[in-house]
Point group: C2
Chain length 195, copies 2
């Protein structure tokens, strides 16, 4: 595990996705692991922290989330853009070696039986809050964030450091057709306390 | 109305928020209008296009959305960062002149009885899909996109043009405490078709 990875207090964990990055969703059940890319993940509540994520019915990750009741939302970086696109395009059903093909390496945080993707900038371990109507009608999943970590080179003391960190650690923001944007310049309004 | 504003086909309207910008929500009912900022808005479906947005119980905009069954999600630009922060901080209940104080000017698109905010880069007119359980339990609202427009200087033919447009037209991505990022550099993976 990368020595820069540091725990993030749960009350500030929403900030890891508040700026709207494209994310990777991962889950595991009975030895089967998968990782997929998703653009539609979003904060839902501060305390306890919750988020939403939209997962298509054909995704194997969806089945693993439902069976295990757990999943990870993680924030890939600019250097992971090709991997992110591939994880959003291929399916485990059609490419059983999908993770190896995309170059995904997994690791674990102690106390969490979940697959975390190496090289990301932030990780949110989530407990699925079952909402069958949302899941069936809208493919919409709600998770409570139960663990949060970030690479302290790019997120520290509750704030992203994109303006000073290496550009390859910036987050990705997907549009369509292989077309992403990296996050850009910092804008401070008023006397930012950065609390 | 700004002469650069152009209609966006509904099937590509999700792309206006797919990169995770902080947005402004506006609504109107019986002559009362309000605009608020929200970081938690997200795509939900392609066809018919839908989105989610999280709106706190104390927001006047929430009441206007519920009563009219309509709302607008719009994408503010870098030059609107102070206005966006102010619209996310002040409430109509406490500051009846909130919109004037923030410098908001409203306009309309023909056929839509909704207040649109001038100077944004994109606008999504939405019809509320009532989901009382989500609204009460999670402050989560679902809208079907029924109209979409963008400033063609920064969004054209289904794609953002941040890499060539004026920097002040870039989208805002909020973290916390007055701390935003602008969207940044383009990243193309593979042979992007930009379809």
């Amino acid at each position: 595990m990368n020595k820069y990875i540091t725990g993030v207090p749960l009350e500030k964990s929403y900030r890891l996705i508040n700026h709207g990055p494209t994310i990777l969703v991962s889950a595991r059940h009975e030895g089967v692991e998968n990782v997929m890319a998703a653009a539609w993940a979003c904060g839902l509540d501060f305390s306890p922290p919750k988020l939403t994520v939209v997962i298509d019915k054909k995704a194997k990750t969806r089945e693993l989330m439902e069976k295990s009741g757990l999943f990870v939302i993680q924030v890939p970086t600019v250097v992971q853009a090709p991997m992110t696109l591939q994880l959003g395009t291929e399916t485990l059903a059609q490419q059983p070696d999908k993770l190896a093909r995309a170059g995904v390496k997994l690791f674990e945080f102690e106390g969490f039986d979940l697959p975390f993707v190496e090289g990301c900038s932030a990780w949110l371990a989530c407990r699925l809050i079952p909402e069958p109507h949302n899941q069936q009608t809208y493919d919409l999943y709600i998770g409570e964030i139960i663990g949060a970590w970030a690479d302290s080179r790019v997120f520290k003391d509750g704030h992203w450091l994109f303006e000073t960190a290496a550009p390859e650690l910036r987050s990705l923001h997907y549009v369509a057709g292989g077309h992403f944007y990296a996050i850009g310049e910092e804008i401070i309004v008023g006397e930012s306390q950065k609390s």
